[in-house]
Symmetry: C2
Subunit: 212 residues, 2 copies
């Protein structure tokens, strides 16, 4: 039937395999699409919006949950209202062979909202939410600096969050992509590739995943 592979952007065609479990069809994706905007919608209303029966909706809803495609439901809050008006990104260089310790320490930092291991100049990026800039300073110099695994950090502040989607779905821009008029390859001028830069992993980081 339908394949979810069509991603307006990835010109590269074939989808590649989805997960091990469920094969997600268009209806599954539509369910996820609705749930993204309203995670508290009743399954009955969900069924109606997706255009399937209630029983079917319950089945698919439960399948998505059981399969792990839906990990959990949550809320989105206004951090400013909650008194955490400052957001910062801390790029961390981690001493090799000390990832385990680094991760353990992370678990003790409730102000960390997100942490990812990256390629490039640094090894990890941490996003923190705190009340004021002083708290960022404290966090970096007192907490992070005291972790032996942390070799160096670089901190930037987030001035504005322009866009935040709960998640991206394949084929998200299917209607929009048509309307949004993407210039055809032929009519595009020469792309100044020089200004685009990809940054590979720092040396020795290849063995990162097996470190812990």
């Amino acid at each position: 039937m339908s394949d979810i592979s069509r991603n307006g952007v990835s010109g590269g065609g074939q989808p590649g395999r989805i997960g091990i479990g469920l094969e997600l069809d268009d209806i599954h994706l539509k369910i996820l699409e609705v749930l993204r905007e309203n995670g508290r919608i009743s399954v009955a209303a969900l069924a109606e919006r997706v255009g399937i029966s209630r029983a079917n909706a319950y089945t698919r809803f439960e399948a998505l949950r059981a399969d792990g495609a839906i990990k959990r439901f949550t809320a989105e809050i206004d951090h400013g209202r909650a008194g955490l008006g400052i957001t910062a990104l801390i790029f961390v260089t981690v001493r090799q062979q000390m990832w385990k310790q680094f991760r353990a320490e992370l678990a003790r930092m409730p102000e960390v909202e997100y942490c990812a291991i990256t390629t490039g100049q640094h090894d990890a990026m941490i996003q923190v939410r705190v009340a004021d800039v002083a708290a960022v300073h404290t966090m970096v110099t007192d907490r992070l600096a005291n972790i032996p695994a942390v070799k160096a950090t670089e901190t930037v502040f987030i001035l504005d969050e322009v866009l935040r989607r709960p998640y991206v779905l394949p084929g998200d821009g299917r209607q929009r992509a048509t309307a949004a008029r993407r210039p055809a390859t032929e009519e595009r001028g020469d792309v100044p590739l020089g200004k685009m830069r990809f940054v590979g992993a720092a040396e020795g980081r290849a063995a990162l995943r097996k470190d812990d």
Copy 2:
């Protein structure tokens, strides 16, 4: 203009101002704490877990929603299961006076999950989810490079997402902090500040917010 026309993410809250509307007390925070883990819990069950009456829970729940402290409810999905196994960060340098255009183009990129304006060497950070690495390349060289507002980009891949909380709350680590024993300022040794680096905004970016 749709999605990102205004500061869609930081809500109405002015940077720096706290609690324009509701004054959040401990019970409000506890509600948000429960909702973070289970956004689909019934208000009745919520009341029980927080230790208040149902009517009270309904009142507070509605107040949080109306005030905008809770922006919406949503799901968390497994991107791998959805066929989007690749996550990348693209750091963008934006030509001054072209922020408006940049934001407009962003709205047409459904693979963008998050975009923030930052201090530091670059002007913005974009997080994208795509099916394969080729799609990242396409995204950067075809889509971003064609935006006049984009002066340069730098791309890194996310190898692993170590930690992801839906949101941070003030006082999150209140019990843990006591147990986790943070050394008092006096008893801490000298922190090697040399390895910590804060990066200020690039010149001319101060006028960023009024640019659009």
